[in-house]
């Protein structure tokens, strides 16, 4: 456990993996690629999109039938965001329900009036911010809409049981935004956030959805 006054600093070890598919499971993945590297006190970090893929939450848009509400609502979010297509909006509706999503829209409209951003996700649900629309994930999932992972808190506890190391599931982008979705020891949050800021998972040809943070 990380306690006391000493600042925690990590060395980052990105691990190249095979292309993860729905046939994999996140615990075996963490175990396999951290074997002989991660020790108790170190942290095994998994990219959220890869965890979602193992949970069969990567969905082909042609398998989604967007309703009228989805077709209407997808006109309003920012066009570079993840809810700008009818299939992605339909999946968002199915994820949180129409009432909550419409409440989020109302909050977003109010936010525009008072010039406050982010109210949509606060009301409609943080999980909607984790949706990666078509082409938002690397090959061979560029044709899929990838939802956020389910039960990340439970999953990191299971990874810790299987490996002995701390575990994190995080959403990181190239704009230095780190969103910790699940972590086994909350006292690590500042140090893990700092370590993941430069996105060691990569966003392009890097095939490193597992990053091990070794304590210095």
């Amino acid at each position: 456990m990380a306690r006391g006054t000493r600042k925690i600093v990590f060395n980052k070890i990105p691990v190249r993996t095979h292309v993860v598919t729905e046939k994999d499971d996140a615990i075996s993945l963490a175990k396999k690629y951290s074997a002989g590297i991660a020790a108790p006190g170190d942290v095994i970090c998994l990219a959220e999109s890869v965890v979602a893929i193992t949970q069969r939450r990567a969905i082909l848009p042609e398998k989604v039938r967007p309703g009228r509400l989805a077709r209407f609502l997808c006109r309003f979010p920012g066009k570079d965001g993840s809810l700008a297509t009818p299939p992605a909006m339909q999946l968002a509706l199915e994820e949180v329900g129409p009432v909550r999503l419409l409440a989020g829209c109302a909050a977003a409209a109010f936010g525009r009036l008072i010039r406050k951003r982010g109210l949509f996700y606060i009301v409609a649900g943080r999980q909607l911010a984790l949706i990666d629309d078509i082409a938002g994930t690397m090959y061979p999932y560029e044709r899929h809409i990838v939802m956020g992972p389910k039960n990340p808190g439970k999953l990191v506890r299971e990874i810790k049981r299987a490996t002995g190391a701390e575990a994190v599931i995080a959403d990181v982008n190239d704009k230095k935004c780190v969103d910790i979705l699940g972590i086994t020891d909350r006292s690590y949050i500042p140090a893990v956030t700092e370590a993941l800021k430069d996105n060691p998972f990569g966003n392009e040809d890097e095939q490193t959805p597992v990053v091990i943070l070794k304590r210095r």
Partner: protein, 295 residues
């Protein structure tokens, strides 16, 4: 007994040191490990590292004009990396201490620079100004995407010391005749960048059109198409003769359509800045290799 060194990562990038460019292969490890480099063939660099393999041992496809691919296997407690090269160049090696410990192999990109140096390449970003071209189902415009890919082409070619002539500025929409008038005498090739659009929104993919007035252009278009689709993993829509390009006479001239912008997935690909870089690099490499093979 200290824990055994484990190899954790392998990647390739293009690095710049002043005007010099290098294709770099980096191998990362948990601790320092003995390394041996040999060249069983002029275009095969073999790197042997005494360490265990934790990373996935599958091949790394690079295809940057110097490095084709890296394959690896383990034998007798060693990992062997075979770096297959497109050019007979040898690596400078640098080992960087730290965690991870990095073994960097730097291959000069001089063969590409030697090929393109002082050649005049004309880049024609399609549409422009008040003509947006095709529109994607969400919001992207052919005019802007062609400009982006053209910009990446220009950047790469200038880095290889080619002389680049653009047929339009960002907010400009010259006529086809005006564009042709900007092609200087002695130009090496003409690359027009567009996106395809179709009323059938399920239609996807990449195509390369060519100037049929010059016999070799069909093969050039096929080579460029193959490189692009291998690199960006889009479906190929094929090659075809383009009637407008005939006006360029004997000049090697292509019209590149990296995606079908009216398709959801293809439009999404255009949002990724790396897509434009990869398309441009694949084009530049394919042109060089086509002409070198023919000569």
């Amino acid at each position: 007994m200290p824990p055994r060194t484990r190899l954790t990562n392998l990647y390739s990038k293009i690095n710049y040191q002043g005007e010099e460019q290098f294709s770099t292969v980096t191998i990362e490890a948990t601790a320092p490990a003995p390394v041996e480099v040999s060249y069983p063939e002029p275009t095969l660099c073999q790197v042997t590292v005494r360490a265990a393999l934790t990373m996935y041992p599958g091949p790394l496809y690079v295809q940057d004009g110097i490095i084709r691919e890296v394959t690896l296997y383990t034998a007798q407690e060693q990992a062997v990396f075979n770096i297959n090269l497109d050019e007979a160049v040898q690596a400078g090696i640098a080992c960087i201490e730290g965690i991870p410990y990095r073994i960097c192999l730097n291959f000069t990109r001089r063969p590409l620079q030697d090929f393109y140096q002082d050649r005049v390449v004309v880049i024609d970003p399609g549409h422009g100004g008040s003509d947006p071209g095709h529109r994607g189902p969400v919001n992207l415009l052919e005019r802007d995407m062609a400009w982006k890919t053209a910009g990446e082409l220009a950047k790469i070619l200038k880095g290889l010391k080619a002389r680049v002539v653009m047929t339009r500025r960002q907010e400009e929409n010259p006529s086809w005749q005006e564009r042709l008038a900007r092609v200087p005498p002695g130009a090496f090739c003409f690359l027009s960048v567009h996106e395809y659009g179709s009323p059938d929104t399920t239609r996807r993919g990449t195509a390369v059109l060519y100037n049929p007035a010059r016999p070799g252009n069909k093969g050039l278009a096929a080579a460029v198409l193959e490189r692009i689709v291998t690199r960006v993993k889009t479906p190929a829509r094929g090659t075809a003769a383009d009637a407008e390009l005939v006006q360029l006479g004997q000049l090697p001239a292509l019209r590149i359509e990296p995606v079908t912008i009216t398709n959801w997935v293809d439009e999404g690909l255009l949002r990724n800045p790396y897509f434009h870089q990869k398309t441009a690099l694949a084009t530049v490499v394919a042109i060089k290799q086509y002409f070198c093979q023919r000569s």
